[in-house]
Amino acid sequence: MSLTTPSASWKSGDAVSDQFPAGLRVLVVDDDPTCLRILEKMLGNCHYEVTKCSRAEAALDLLRDNKDGFDIVISDVHMPDMDGFKLLEHIGLEMDLPVIMMSADDSKNVVMKGVTHGACDYLIKPVRMEALKNIWQHVVRKKKYEWKDKDLEQSGSVEDGERQQKPSDDADYSSSANEGNWRSSKKRKDEEDETEERDDSSTLKKPRVVWSVELHQQFVTAVNQLGIDKAVPKKILELMNVPGLTRENVASHLQKYRLYLRRLSGQHQNGLGNSFMSPQDPAFGSMSSLSGLDLQALASSGQIPPQSLATIQAAALSRATNKSSISVPLVDQRNLFSFDNPNIRFLDGQQQHNNGKQVNLLHGIPTNMDSKQLAALHQSAQPFGNMHINVHSQSGQSNSLLTQLVQPQSRTQMLNEVGSNQVLNLPASVGQPGLSQPIPGAVFGRYGIDNVRAPTYNSLSQPSSVVDFSRSQGMELPGNTIPLASNSGITTFTSKGMLQEDLNSEMKGSRSFLPSFDAFNELNQNRTEDWSLQNVGSTFETAQHSNVQGRLDVAPSVLVQPGFPSDQRNGHIRTTSVNKAAFSAASGLGNITNLGQQLTSSQADNSLRIKSERLPEMGFQNSIFPDQFGQEDLMSALLKQQQEGIVPVENDFAFDEYHLDNLPV
């Protein structure tokens, strides 16, 4: 690999604004030396900062070692040491960077594979200069979404000003970056970008099935009955016996589920500590401002213990999307959810194709997110990530969001996004001072809820609603009315437990983040409340225990209800099946935690658990962080929630539908 130092010191940020997209840090991976050299030259001519790499493993190492060191990755599909799509997945999960695939193969199924795995673009070789000139759009788009999320947040984070700048236009994008936030904002935009891309693709797709908690539960039951190895879509469909459900729906859901499981087992270990963990990850840069604020606010308020935040973040970040995605960088403390950063990749940065997906997520979470999201979910147990997904639906379709969340992949992205946009913001928007739960956003960030955000969360912006919600009812997320939506994006946390901190932080800062997250954080900050994980617990219990649990995080129906701020404390988090967009933000959060706990308990690996401990703090969120929250708590919370009608988030997507019915208020 060779590092090409750009002549322009765009890194410093000062020059960036004027020269953007000059200085874009591109990592190009291709085993063909001829192509690699040509690409290097082409990208150099675009004034990008190019690093070339001939091996996928080396590229991953490079990315891991330099979190936030790259803005975008271009990779070949066919490589000897690792399949390009695998690399794509890894990157999405761990770093949440936009990835462009390229190949001489232009057959439809391969291109489709790129889409489903979350690539933000697919170039046919031989690659022309024109094709490379515009790759910066993917970075900007992602960040834009991130920022957008932030904007949605109504918290008075200082970032507002910044944020406003960002969306103003791409040209200014760099200017905002000047402050050194360029990267982070870029990252955010990347995430947003991804989300958007996802959305677009999903809108084109046929209507998605909303994988409600119940539905997911049925699915999981069926899968368990058949045995995970023998579970084929046809048989699962038969067992489920759900009218209107097609084999394809099941197949795609199964795929996500499998990814989720795989992630749970594989990621847990590495997820937590890495990338995200850097406490002061500058990557959060932009995010941090928002999310950081949240976290800080939370932290300062004593709500979020730094450690917990870190934990959450770590967990969430395991994927570490380095990008400014808030999720990771801030991880340390700020907000896993970094509302600001859509990147909260809980899910691992599934590509946040979420942005595009946001819309989709809600509706059925675009598949893009699948792998990533699932992975993301597991890794950082960013349940929230999923939650984002739900959050998106907020915009009014809370239900749809839920559905969307269901899709793990999209979820993650959505989560990130969502978190940032809507879900997480909920709390923030709520305007509840106490809420400052950036985490929800953070949570989402991780999962790439980013996608989730924005669009759906229109309604989220009403913090007040969220807040009330949580308080008064102990957050029951009416499973279908996603109150969050009104509040702001009830993020469905998937019990991943993520991010309590994130949530908190997210909540606070995130504009659009699910308020619930915030609420959770605040509420739960260190509470071991009983978040009424019941729902969560219930959902997972059945399942799929280990996997399921993880799912909680992802549970699409996890609704993170941002508005929980104080009320949620009681850990009322209920994970309501989001599918109906019932984001009972408050409860949702609670559920999430529950779920998180559940997840942890059942599974050996804590990928989900990550945040289970945190649950108490978050109150609800925990579902996302399975680790943090004691599973038992989650479980119980979930169970309790169930009664309330909250459907366990079981959704396959694991992160998606986390109904935060009972976000502890």
Binding site: D32, T34, R37, K41, K125, P126, V127, R128, M129
Partner: protein, 141 residues
Amino acid sequence: MERNQLQRQAAYMRNTLFDQGYLDEQFLQLEDLQDEANPKFVEEVVKLFYTDSARLIRSIELTLENTPWDFEKLDKIMHQFKGSSSSIGAKKVKKECTQFQEYCKVGNVEGCMRTFQEVKQEHAALKRKLENYFQLAREAR
């Protein structure tokens, strides 16, 4: 020879390569990348291609020697080779590669063998022509 004349000759040779279908517009892309900072960029890339492609050709030869023929592997290697060739604009070579892959798909050994010979021929022919061209271009500079 006079420089002008050399330049004209080089230009003529270059145009012929395009006209006769040896090179396609991707080669133009390479030329566009050549600048004062990298005055021999095109030549450098072509050299890189020929070094690397020799390895791929050898790999295919070895695979063809083994029976039963592993068409999947052959297809894979050829895919790589094709990608590489297309990146420098080697039009005829690329065409033969595609043909080879078609034969692989249907498991036509005979076709594969025949086409592979064509691939090697075109590959070598282009190499010669480009070398001549670069030589002339250098002299004409």
